[in-house]
């Protein structure tokens, strides 16, 4: 059985390499983006095979969902054919081959794959694996490390995601449409309407499950935010942006994105007020383990709110640009 799983992993890695190779030579960008979606799904499967269930979850929802949609919307504005380059491709090929050869030479010094004695497993990982179920009291070690041990790092990443939406909005901006009669969404596709309306509540329910079950199984704020945003993006794609704006407006999403980050940071400030250090959840309740649980649930909620609002607002910005360029 172990050999069979090894073979599956080897085959999937080879398929990943082939997909990347095909992307290099394709000139049709629509096909490139579709292949990139396949590439993301394959990497999610490989992550699953390498025991990284939380990462696989994130890659499947982000790579195959959000980034494919964003690239397709961009293609709608920039055109789907790549033109022939006038430069020779020999110099890039030479640079890549030399760099690749040097890196392959470098991998020979790496410790062998999967060995339990590798240096990477010696330093902090044993502490996380042995102590985190007692210190934090959660079965999912990834959530413990993400939200508690490395909580400050995760706050930084949430701020990066928040600043990305500031960047996109200052570059593109979300415009509400003035002409009411403009065609938007896929009004004439009844099948899509019926299917989407049935699926969307289930997707949102699943996002909530992922949000609040992340302490015990794979999942958490990052994945839940992306999944919930995907549900609203589906709604906007099928019914058109104006109807999606009526449900959650772009202005409201800007407030939400900021509120998530502030919720996260305020947990840190509150723990300082209680006499601990920044993001020291032990101070949040009389019992340290209960304090850890409160802290993690609240900061995961903050992460989920911010990621949801940022992803959806980025889609709104791209979507309203695409509709505008269609009008012109």
């Amino acid at each position: 059985m172990a050999e069979f799983i090894d073979l599956v992993l080897l085959a999937m890695l080879a398929m990943l390499a082939l997909t990347a190779l095909r992307i290099i030579f394709l000139k049709d960008l629509f096909a490139v983006v579709m292949l990139f979606g396949i590439y993301s799904f394959l990497s999610a499967l490989i992550f699953l095979n390498l025991d990284a269930v939380d990462v696989a979850f994130t890659e499947a929802s982000v790579g195959a969902g959000i980034s494919t949609v964003l690239m397709l919307v961009t293609l709608a504005m920039t055109g789907r054919k790549e033109k022939q380059s006038t430069h020779s491709s020999l110099l890039p090929l030479f640079v890549v081959l030399v760099t690749g050869a040097a890196l392959i030479y470098g991998t020979l010094d790496m410790p062998p794959f999967g060995h339990p004695d590798n240096p990477v497993h010696q330093h902090v990982a044993p502490r996380y694996i042995e102590e985190s179920p007692k210190e934090v009291g959660l079965p999912n070690m990834v959530t413990s490390v993400l939200a508690s041990y490395r909580g400050f790092d995760t706050l930084g990443e949430t701020v990066v995601v928040f600043s990305a939406v500031i960047g996109v909005l200052s570059l593109l901006g979300v415009r509400r449409k003035k002409k009411k009669d403009l065609e938007s969404g896929l009004e004439t596709h009844r099948v899509l309407h019926v299917v989407a309306k049935n699926i969307i509540p289930l997707v949102i329910l699943f996002a909530l499950y992922v949000q609040f079950h992340g302490d015990f199984g794979p999942g958490g704020g990052f994945q839940a935010g992306v999944i919930a945003a995907a549900a609203f993006i589906l709604y906007a794609l099928v019914l058109g942006l104006p109807k999606a704006f009526a449900v959650v407006g772009p202005r409201f999403l800007q407030w939400m994105a900021a509120a998530g980050v502030l919720l996260y940071a305020s947990v840190g400030l509150y723990s300082m007020y209680k006499g601990g250090q920044f993001l020291d959840y032990n101070q949040l309740a009389a019992d340290p383990i209960a304090g850890q649980h409160y802290g993690i649930i609240i900061i995961e909620l903050g992460v989920g709110i911010t990621v949801f609002a940022v992803m959806l607002n980025i889609f709104y910005a791209f979507g309203s640009q695409a509709e505008r360029s269609n009008v012109q």
Binding site: D6, L16, A17, A20, I23, I24, L29, Y39, S43, F47, D51, D54, V55, T58, V62, G63, S67, M71, T74, M77, T78, E82, Q84, S85, T86, H87, P92, L93, V95, V96, L97, G100, L103, I104, T107, L108, M110, F113, H115, P116, A125, Y128, I129, N140, M141, V142, V145, L146, E157, V161, L171, L172, G217, P218, F222, V307, M311, I314, A317, F318
Partner: protein, 118 residues
Amino acid sequence: MSFILDYYNYWIVVFLMMAGFYIVISANNLVKKIVGLNIFQTSVFMLYISMGKVTGGTAPIVAEGVTQYSNPLPHVLILTAIVVGVATTAVGLALVVRIKRAYGTVEENEFDNKDDVI
């Protein structure tokens, strides 16, 4: 055979990284360059997750009767990196859209004589 199995993951990582690198420096279209950057990025994710794997281990979620877990730390680093990655990709695509609007093209070799077009 065991020599190949020990390093196979890393070689694939290097291949993917170089494929992404090649797309970034040789592609003519800016959207394709961003796809290349994403492939490069995924190869780094693959490197980290490969290093975190322990043969015979299981996903780092506490379960009865399991003694060997894979390393949770690379998972945490990469999980957040994926979400940050899509956010920065969005900024890159937004720049592409603005370039299209200002220059009328996203093909690298067509920018040449349009320096002051805005």
